[in-house]
Symmetry: C2
Subunit: 335 residues, 2 copies
Amino acid sequence: MNNPVLVEVTRGPLVESRHRGAIAVVDAEGAAALTVGEVDEPIFPRSAVKALQALPLVASGAADELGLGDAELALACSSHSGEPAHTEAAASMLAKAGRDEATLECGCHWPFEVKAARALAERGERPSQLHNNCSGKHAGFVCLACASKVDPAGYVAPDHPVQETVRAALEEVTGATLTEDRRGVDGCSIPTYAMPLTCLAYGFARFGAGAHLSADYARAATRIRKAVAANPFMVAGTGRFDTRLMEGLGPRVFLKTGAEGVYCAALPELGLGVALKCEDGATRAAEAMMAAVIRRFLDLDERERTLLDGFAASPVKNWNKHDVGEIRTVGPLSA
Amino acid sequence: MNNPVLVEVTRGPLVESRHRGAIAVVDAEGAAALTVGEVDEPIFPRSAVKALQALPLVASGAADELGLGDAELALACSSHSGEPAHTEAAASMLAKAGRDEATLECGCHWPFEVKAARALAERGERPSQLHNNCSGKHAGFVCLACASKVDPAGYVAPDHPVQETVRAALEEVTGATLTEDRRGVDGCSIPTYAMPLTCLAYGFARFGAGAHLSADYARAATRIRKAVAANPFMVAGTGRFDTRLMEGLGPRVFLKTGAEGVYCAALPELGLGVALKCEDGATRAAEAMMAAVIRRFLDLDERERTLLDGFAASPVKNWNKHDVGEIRTVGPLSA
């Protein structure tokens, strides 16, 4: 591995920690607009490809058949914070498929959002699978299975028809070959397939432009992008990077985080896709990197630039809320 | 920066993330027993030097004058998880100084330990400064001030007599020169001074051996090490690396974590000190690195080796609690 330092964390007069990473920005023809670091190494996209994994749900007609609304479609692409709007939409999706939370196979964890977690604890409750950040994606898988008259039981297994369909969609959109030797198990128990950042960026360029996709996938991509742009809260939650950036930039940016420092984005007006990975898996660095990449490529007004600048260089605060340092992009990503 | 990859995080058949770092193992004469990466670059030790920062509390006679017990001394060296035993001991230390929580200047945060945080929320309470992971160290500063007839107000400022005394202790033990141009503000608002890993390791070799220290500091170091060895729970908390390792290895190891991927340790029977930093600040990597270093240097029985092996290579689990990968030391630290 030979990735450059792209983010520094300072404290007082010194750099305290350093994050390395790789970035690919590619157009819908596969031509590179920016390449930093080792972009041809396979990486696990994790949750960053949820929108691509949701394509069959829409393209198959399942979403229309079950009457899923835009907020629910956005939730199908989310890594949400477990706030009430999120868990309610997940429960609603399952109900439309004639199912409930017991059909989910994602496992339980406490809500990422502190107030939602505290509220649960104050009521003496414990988190359910609906609070899992992936419950919307999983509810989408259950909807796809039920609308296709397939038993959803075991839908997380690589050889279940749902995961076979999802893998085929990922292959079609990214151009990558997703074989067993590149397969891991994701945090929510579904397969995750490693592919180069160049393939991921290419896939998101096509997802954003609707170009070079089958007619069904092109329509599905457009509908998913509109659903997310209209419901940025449903994709993440209170104070989260994805939500705040898409609230601020609207449909100019589609972006999605993945665990272990991955980010993918589409910049439809430029026909570009972005995929990046922080080598050590740190989210704080991946967010700063993505903010810097968007700032470099998009033509921004002052309000938008201020928003992006605040993420490409953000304060480190101590427990008394004083600024004691900075997380900032450097090297190829410096302003 | 040119630090080697020392820890890999795998998922399925592939490496998903990589952590680089630097390690210094030094004896009480300053001779290196192991050097990996850039050990001469200044790094902020953060909380890893709390035991050295507690030396004046004991050496000055303040701890004896106020009747601090071993559990309280251990808490003065802790980054604790905010569990009841921790907050009670912090309150007790303050009471012995004729003070209470209002004198603390560390700020508030929720307990690191999930059950303790949940219990607070279930009672409708909010965390106080006693729950701050540094409250024991701060209570120690207040004890030092009060026993020395110094007003503790503003004790976190670099020019307060308490911090002047603490800085002088760090300089004496580590041999480093700690000037303003290497000073940052720590998470708990006190100064943190950057120094090379070699100086930190040298300081911990002397702290562990009691060698080449003034008679007062040598006695204080011995008392602090014994207090911590007898109370490993007070230094961290339920399930934490420091607590589990010192419970398992007893006085053979003194170790302490610091924020942003720092670890320091003393191996008294070998007269060695250890200091390491994960370049990107990740705790998961710093713990694996420290486990591998201890495993390499100490002569271990089977039980001890099994304990260390479990930290030098530990499973990554998904939300359904299945093993999906591994965090493991590699390169210069491979088994």
